[in-house]
């Protein structure tokens, strides 16, 4: 990626003793209570946990949407843990492709404009932006519909657009937050298959979910409970303890 040095030998994600502590009145809430793990390039990891387990906090930190109270977070070898707002924005823009549960497409922009957004913020010139966005839409099979508005699409299609948007910037990490949470089982399967295909093509994917059956689609599972990791291992081992 332009502007960001990537040392291929290093793990893509490295969390060292991450704490995220919120003050709720008099009470101290430890949303992340000493979390450490590494994720290498090409992995497909599911972070699983119940609501309130601290998985969203982890997702925010991994996604450079938030910084930890203490601990270090290296993304592609860069220390993200004490970056400013604008530096985080740049990291998100260049290194992370988000896929949200609610798709989070902008309703007043057409598909192409939606997919172009990360490229726009990266300062890609208009012509190249359009070409790359169209190519990205093509990957999810929606190139023909580029002029449509998000509201004209089904939920599954909208999620594919959001995947296209995540892919457009050619990020090092694809971060999916409950990607199937708003979809029926058939379209969920489509999306999961697509994520698997992306992983087979070499993309690193981190998927946050509360649903064990979804987590089983990944290659590695990290389970969070009360802000701590209580399982980290291969999906087969995870299946064994369920």
């Amino acid at each position: 990626m332009a502007g960001v040095k990537i040392d291929e030998g290093q793990p893509l994600i490295e969390l060292r003793d991450i704490y995220k502590i919120y003050q709720m009145g008099d009470e101290e809430v430890r949303a992340s209570d000493g979390v450490s793990f590494t994720i290498n390039r090409g992995e497909f990891v599911a972070i699983v946990g119940k609501s309130g387990s601290g998985k969203s906090t982890l997702m925010n930190i991994i996604g450079a949407l938030d910084v930890p109270t203490s601990g270090e977070y290296y993304l592609g070898g860069e220390d993200v843990s004490d970056m400013t707002d604008d530096e985080l924005a740049e990291i998100r823009n260049k290194m992370i492709g988000f896929i949200f549960q609610q798709y989070n497409l902008l309703p007043k922009l057409n598909l192409l404009e939606n997919v172009e957004l990360p490229l726009l913020y990266a300062g890609v010139p208009a012509q190249e932006r359009k070409e790359r966005a169209l190519a990205s839409l093509d990957r999810v099979g929606l190139k023909e519909k580029w002029k449509n508005m998000p509201s004209q699409l089904s939920g599954g299609q909208q999620q594919r657009v959001s995947i296209a948007r995540a892919l457009a910037g050619d990020p090092s990490l694809i971060l999916a937050d409950e990607p199937t949470g708003a979809l029926d089982s058939r379209t969920s399967r489509e999306v999961l298959n697509f994520l698997k295909k992306l992983n087979d093509e070499g993309n690193t994917i981190v998927m946050i979910t509360h649903d064990n059956s979804i987590a089983m689609e990944a290659k590695r599972v990290i389970r969070v409970h009360d802000g701590k990791i209580n399982f980290d291992g291969d999906v087969k081992d995870y299946a064994a303890i369920l």
């Binding site: 949407l65 707002d85 924005a89 902008l106 957004l117 990360p118």
Partner: protein, 392 residues
């Protein structure tokens, strides 16, 4: 940057009603600034024009002659002859309290006075019939007179009929040699501009039983020279009197200046009031932008998660506010120009929007967008992407 403008226009267009209501304040504000300032300016130039026709080139001199220090008619004419490059005309003024009589008819409100042969030019009057007072009349102290249109029509029925007739002024018989053109087209009344009798000043001093002439009227060649002329006169009179309480020199243009000043003040005051409405409009813009930021929290969150920096979000909202208020400003200018023309025609003055008023109100409206858009934009830029994404 260009992208931000496109985005702003898109956003304004997709919220047509709201954008229009936001603009409405700006439109009314800008239009009222333009209308008020232009109409006051138009009115001012009309007043100035009518004032100019009343003789802004005139300078009045009043004297108090003492036995040891005095200026008489000959001295004044000597001064005048020395400065013919600056002064066009000179006339002594000898006012009389007189009753005009012709047989049984009499007029007692008429302004009666003695003047030089140049007084007609000073006043800018033309003759309807007959001739003007001549230099010979003054030298010979002839009992002749030039009368106003009202006097002629009251005492003789018409200007032509008045010629060579006799009017008794305080018992002395004067021959009418000329009748001035009617001055007041609307009212012809007793004591009005057409109710006068002019006689040679030499005979007037005789009637007033005083050879002392204490009032003079000068006319300058060029209106721009009036202040120079006034100073020249004051210098000359100070030489003689050594006391500036003994004479008084007044230029009509000074009255015009003070009138201009007053109108300028009125214009600034009205402009200020209209300016306040622009300020209120600015608060309206801010209000709507704040609503817009709140409404679009999620959009802001999405944009931030995709890598929009604070500055980018800031720029988007500030530009949107500025574009909204400049569109309002342009509509306001057009509306203001149209209404100014209509209103000008209605009250019968030529009122055109001044470039200054247009420029100022347009830049004020853009400025309002920038200033009042800043606060909401800053709020948008500082939104935390996590919270923003979570909002519905």
């Amino acid at each position: 940057m260009l992208q931000s403008f496109k985005l702003a226009l898109k956003s304004i267009w997709s919220n047509k009603m709201r954008s229009f209501l936001t603009m409405l304040g700006i439109i009314i504000g800008v239009a009222s600034v333009i209308i008020l300032v232009s109409i006051v300016n138009g009115y001012m130039s009309t007043v100035v024009e009518s004032f100019a026709s009343m003789g802004v080139n005139r300078i009045s001199v009043r004297l108090t002659n003492l036995s040891t220090r005095s200026v008489n008619v000959d001295d004044m004419y000597e001064f005048y002859d020395e400065h013919t490059d600056l002064f066009a005309q000179l006339s002594p003024n000898v006012s009389l309290n007189a009753v005009l009589k012709k047989g049984e008819d009499s007029l007692d409100m008429s302004s009666v006075g003695g003047y030089s042969e140049q007084y007609l030019d000073i006043m800018g009057y033309e003759l309807e019939a007959g001739r003007n007072i001549s230099y010979a009349d003054i030298v010979a102290r002839n009992k002749i007179c030039v009368i106003g249109y009202y006097v002629a029509s009251q005492l003789f029925g018409s200007p032509q009929a008045a010629l060579d007739q006799t009017i008794k002024v305080n018992g002395y018989a004067f021959t009418v040699v000329g009748v001035a053109e009617r001055q007041d087209e609307e009212d012809l009344e007793e004591g009005g501009t057409d109710d006068f009798l002019w006689m040679p000043y030499s005979i007037a001093t005789k009637l007033s039983r005083s050879a002392d002439i204490t009032s003079y009227t000068f006319a300058t060649i060029d209106t721009d020279d009036t202040s120079t002329c006034k100073e020249l006169l004051e210098e000359y009179l100070y030489e003689v009197y050594k006391d500036d309480d003994l004479y008084n020199v007044t230029a009509n243009s000074e009255m015009l200046d003070s009138l201009n000043e007053q109108i300028g003040m009125m214009s600034a005051m009205l402009g200020g009031i209209a300016g306040i409405s622009l300020l209120v409009a600015g608060v309206g813009v801010m209000n709507i932008m704040l609503v817009s930021v709140t409404e679009r929290t999620r959009e802001i969150g999405i944009r931030k998660s995709l890598g929009a920096k604070r500055g980018t979000i800031m720029q988007q909202f500030v530009i949107e506010a500025a574009v909204t208020s400049s569109i309002g400003g342009i509509i306001g200018i057009v509306l203001g120009a149209v209404v100014t023309q209509l209103a000008g025609n209605m009250i019968g003055i030529t009122a055109t929007p001044t470039p200054a008023a247009v420029l100022v109100s347009f830049s004020v409206s853009v400025g309002i967008g920038l200033i009042f858009g800043y606060m909401p934009a800053n709020r948008a830029a500082k939104l935390n992407p996590i919270d923003a994404l979570r909002s519905e």
